[in-house]
Amino acid sequence: MDLLNRALPLLGEGLVVTLFLGLTAFGIGCVAGLALALMRLSSARPLRTLAIAYVSVFRGTPMLVQILLIYFGLPQFGIIIEPIPSAVLALSLNAAGYLSENFRAGIVAVEKGQREAANAIGMSYWQALRRVILPQAVRMAMPSVGNRFIALMKDTSLASVITVVELTRVAERVGSATFRYMEMFMIVAVVYWMVNTVLSLGQESLERRMARAY
């Protein structure tokens, strides 16, 4: 109990950083992922190739290596990024790769007739996308996007290796100061679990609401 009391303020700060990393990277990852998905589905070959290469690289290499490359590797070229921005960048780039595949699957799953109907009433590519295709695609991509969000929340713990003081780093620090590693890592494990439980409940209710709307 004493340990918990001492660790609590630090845990609070760590949680804030963890949530910030996860939410920011998810937001940026969604926007970039959608752009990648559209490139992948575009009729312009260079755009397609670029998107395929991007996904291949960012899905095919470990996230930890990506983080280390950005934080320790880039300074060799004179590009120095602070720990938290480094972590956000790495997490976003990685999430974009995965999310683009989720969005692509959603877009492809929308019936061909939907775009035709949109075009037949005179909609442009972007109008059809915004009003007809994406609302349906997002619904279909929702379960896999939610899974990715939860995975991303856990991946934020990798930021601890580049000195970002998020939940995992807090546990490590307090653990090493008190030699109570077991308790500290159990505590942060529970905190991660609670965050993700809230997220999956949110996802479930969102999916239910969207299913009802049809």
Partner: protein
Amino acid sequence: MAAPEQERVASAAPRDDCQIRVEGVRKRFGKLEVLKDISLTVRRGEVVVIMGPSGSGKTTLIRCMNFLEEPDEGRVSVCGLEVQCGNEHRGRNRARRIRDIRLRAGMVFQQFNLFPHMTALGNVIEGPMTVRGMSRSQAVTLGERLLARVGLSDKRDEYPSRLSGGQKQRVAIARSLAMEPEVVLFDEPTSALDPELHEEVLQAMRELAREGMTMVVVTHEVRFAREVADRVLFMDGGVILEEAPPREFFSRPKHPRARAFLRLVEHAPAEASEGLTVVPSAVGAAVPLLPPSAGGLA
């Protein structure tokens, strides 16, 4: 946004009698030549029915009229807006022109293609609001009037998943009319419907024809063609084999293949109407309540 659009449109379209002109259109899918040098014209206020066995190219032809299908060769002009087909003519201006054509030529699909995430009213007002930039209140007034016209005022707030096939297709008709088109293209509008639902859709189409709308209709509905069409085109193998007023076409078809086709459509159960080859899987849906109507597959 709406006003300048319409002004430009009005000045670009000369007021002649011809609404649709298709000249020398060819289209191939891979090795298969689906349209072989097709030419036809549709005059203002005319109802033209296109018939023919499946695979004859009739659906491709009607889809070439609003460029959902891009012809490989030839020229298509709708309401005075002419588009040259073929790769060498692609460009930005052309895309604009095709959108302008689509604003004048509405389309009703075999599979309805209603937007499932919008209510019946939402489907109807989507085009006027997004494409024409109409205000919501104006669009709603227009949408309610159109839903009333197809007899669906009470379904205004229902999502398509809660509508029957016939109701869906009537919403789709209202949706295409909401763009105030000069021509409506119907691509087998009753073929995906159970036989007892054909009549409500055909009724809406008859009324539209009575009001003087220019219509091109791909269908197997012989009775509809007899009553409403000004001309029937019979297609097979990517060419127009025969073209005649319905009375003449149905009583004295000249081409042997037209005769064979009509025998199947008029006297056989609906599964045979889809083509000269019998499709066994369609037998279940083959009880035509309305005698000459033809169910069947795409």
